[in-house]
C-alpha cells in the first residue's frame, strides 16, 4: 500500500471575529503558506483538492463553492468537499492517493463562526424530530455529559480545571491561540458556573480561521525535497445519534478508531485531541490509552481556539510539525464531529 507523507501545514490565528474577511480571504493566506513550504504556485500544482466546511456556520449557502475562488481553478481542477471537519478531507484524499488517482493533495478547512450563534446553529445537526425542534445547544449537551462523569465518579471538577490550566499554559507557546495565559486549576475553579457543571473556561471559544495541509506519496515528497512525516494509520467511527443509547462517559468510537489506526503499535510522544470541552479530553485520553509518557495538546488544543471544520485538520498538522521539528517521533491526532464526541477520527503520524 502506498505510504502517505505530510509535507506542509499552516493554520491562521484563531480569532474571535475575523472582521471583514470573507471565506476566500480567510483561505488564501493559509494556502499561500503551504504552497511556499513545498515551492508550488497554486492548486494547479497538486493532483487533488479537498476541503471541509459547513455553510450553516456563517449562513451563506454554498460558501464552500465560493471557497474554490481561492484555488486558481482555471483550467478546472479535481476538487471535492466534505461538509465535515477537514480531517475527513484528509481521509478522502488518502483514499484518492491510494487508489492511484493522485500523487498529491491539498486539503483545507475553514470556518467563520462569528456571524451566527454557533451553539444554536449546531443544534440543527441533531435529529430533526426530537432534539433539533427543542434547540438543544452543544454546550448544554456537553454539560449533560460532564454531569454523568462527575456523578459516576469518573472525574472531578479539579480534573477538568487541570485540563484547562494546561491548555492555557501550553497555548502561551502557540502564536495562533485565541486564549492563552498562566492560569492555575485554582484560578479556573474560582470562576462561577457558566452552564453548570461547566465553567466558561471548560468550553472552547468561538473562533474564525482556516488551516491547510499538503499530503502526497513519499516519491512526490522526495521530489519536492522537503521534510515530511508519514501517516501510518487513520480510521474513523461514528456512534448512534440517540444520546440516551450511548455511554457518554466513554468514547467507544474513538477506541475502535484507535485500534483501526494502530495507536497501540508504538509509543505515543504527542497527542493532539479535538476536545471542545475539558472533560472530553479526559474521555479521549482514556479511550486512546494514553499515559504520562504522552504530551497531550502541547498547542493548547481547541480550548485555546476552535476553528470549526478546521480544528481536526489542525490537530494532524500540529502533530506533523512536532515530528518534522524533531520534538516527537510518533504522535496521534484526533478529530471529532457531532454532539458529545459522536464521530471520531484518529490518525497516527510518524517520523519518516
Amino acid at each position: 500500500m502506498k505510504q502517505i507523507a505530510i509535507v506542509a501545514f499552516h493554520q491562521s490565528r484563531a480569532v474571535a471575529d475575523a472582521g471583514a474577511c470573507n471565506e476566500v480571504e480567510m483561505i488564501m493566506p493559509v494556502l499561500s503558506e503551504v504552497y511556499q513550504q513545498v515551492g508550488i504556485n497554486n492548486a494547479q500544482d497538486v493532483d487533488f483538492v479537498c476541503s471541509g466546511s459547513c455553510d450553516y456556520l456563517q449562513g451563506a449557502a454554498f460558501a464552500f463553492v465560493a471557497g474554490v475562488d481561492a484555488l486558481g481553478a482555471v483550467p478546472p481542477i479535481k476538487e471535492s468537499h466534505v461538509e465535515m471537519d477537514a480531517a475527513w478531507a484528509v481521509y478522502e484524499s488518502i483514499l484518492k492517493i491510494r487508489m492511484g488517482h493522485a500523487d498529491s493533495a491539498l486539503i483545507y478547512g475553514f470556518g467563520k463562526s462569528s456571524p451566527g450563534e454557533l451553539p444554536i446553529v449546531l443544534s440543527q445537526q441533531l435529529d430533526p424530530y426530537y432534539l433539533a425542534p427543542q434547540w438543544v445547544d452543544t454546550i448544554s449537551l456537553a454539560a449533560l455529559q460532564a454531569r454523568l462523569m462527575l456523578e459516576q465518579g469518573k472525574l472531578t471538577e479539579r480534573d477538568m480545571a487541570e485540563v484547562v490550566s494546561r491548555s492555557r499554559r501550553n497555548a502561551l507557546n502557540n502564536p495562533n491561540a485565541q486564549l492563552a495565559g498562566d492560569i492555575s486549576a485554582e484560578d479556573v475553579l474560582a470562576d462561577e458556573m457558566y452552564l453548570s457543571p461547566l465553567r466558561k473556561a471548560d468550553c472552547c471559544p468561538v473562533s474564525d480561521g482556516a488551516s491547510a495541509m499538503i499530503i502526497c506519496t513519499v516519491e512526490k515528497a522526495q521530489q519536492w525535497g522537503v521534510p515530511f512525516a508519514l501517516i501510518t494509520g487513520i480510521d474513523h467511527r461514528i456512534e448512534t445519534h440517540n444520546l440516551g443509547m450511548r455511554d457518554l462517559t466513554d468514547s467507544v468510537s474513538t477506541r475502535l478508531a484507535a485500534e483501526g489506526a494502530g495507536v497501540a503499535d508504538g509509543s505515543v510522544d504527542v497527542a493532539e485531541l479535538y476536545a471542545p470541552f475539558s472533560h472530553q479530553e479526559i474521555i479521549l485520553a482514556r479511550a486512546l490509552g494514553l499515559d504520562e509518557g504522552t504530551s497531550v495538546n502541547p498547542s493548547g488544543g481547541v480550548l485555546a481556539g476552535n476553528l470549526m471544520m478546521a480544528s481536526g485538520l489542525s490537530r494532524i498538522g500540529e502533530v506533523f510539525q512536532r515530528i518534522v521539528s524533531g520534538e516527537a517521533q510518533r504522535g496521534v491526532a484526533h478529530a471529532t464531529s457531532g454532539p458529545c464526541l459522536q464521530h471520531n477520527l484518529v490518525t497516527v503520524v510518524e517520523k519518516a
Binding site: 480571504e25 456563517q58 486558481g72 482555471v74 451566527g116 440543527q124 430533526p128
Partner: protein, 171 residues
C-alpha cells in the same frame, strides 16, 4: 375534532437562524466606492484581469486582487435574457431584461438590469450606460444604479467584449 383520530404523518418544522453577515474586505472596498457613485474593479497581479464586483481573489489564479481600478459606468452587453414571468418578491414588472454586462476597463461581467430600451432590439455587443438613482439615495449597494440603458455607440464585436480599456469604445 375528527382529525384527532388521524395519526400524525408529517410535521412542520420551520427553522430560523440569525446571522450578522459581513462583506469581505474586497467587496467592502468596492461597496464603499459604489456608495459614492464610483464603480471600482480589482486587478489580478498575475493575469491582470479586472474583476467587478470583486470578491477579493482572482478565481483563475487563486491570488488576492488588491489593486483598485476605477472603471467607467459604460458597459457592453455580453449576454442577456428577457424575463417574461413574474419572480416572487421581485417588484419589477415583466417583461424585463437581465444582462451580463462588462464595464469598460473590466474583463469579467456582472449581472444587472436593462431598461429604457426596445427589448426585441437588445443584442450582444450593444453599448449601455448606467442610470443612477438620485445621489441622496445612494447606499452600499449595486442598485444605486437603477438599470443600464442603450447609448448611441457602435456595437462591439464579440471578440472585443471584455477587452475594452476604461476609456471606452473609441471606434
Amino acid at each position: 375534532m375528527s382529525d384527532q383520530r388521524e395519526p400524525i404523518t408529517g410535521i412542520d418544522v420551520p427553522i430560523s437562524l440569525k446571522y450578522n453577515f459581513t462583506a469581505g474586505a474586497g467587496p467592502a472596498r468596492f461597496l464603499s466606492q459604489v456608495r459614492k457613485g464610483v464603480l471600482t474593479g480589482q486587478r489580478c497581479p498575475r493575469c491582470e484581469q479586472v474583476y467587478i464586483p470583486p470578491r477579493g481573489s482572482c478565481a483563475a489564479c487563486g491570488v488576492p486582487t488588491e489593486e483598485e481600478v476605477v472603471l467607467a459606468d459604460k458597459a457592453t452587453v455580453q449576454s442577456f435574457t428577457i424575463v417574461s414571468i413574474p419572480i416572487p418578491t421581485n417588484p419589477i414588472e415583466p417583461p424585463y431584461i437581465i444582462a451580463n454586462l462588462v464595464a469598460d476597463g473590466a474583463n469579467i461581467s456582472f449581472i444587472h438590469l436593462m431598461s429604457d430600451c426596445v427589448n426585441e432590439e437588445v443584442r450582444i455587443g450593444q453599448r449601455v450606460q448606467a442610470v443612477w438613482k438620485p445621489e441622496e439615495e445612494w447606499d452600499y449597494a449595486m442598485d444605486n444604479i437603477r438599470y443600464f440603458t442603450p447609448i448611441d455607440e457602435p456595437d462591439v464585436p464579440a471578440d472585443k467584449i471584455g477587452k475594452l480599456p476604461v476609456s471606452g469604445w473609441g471606434a
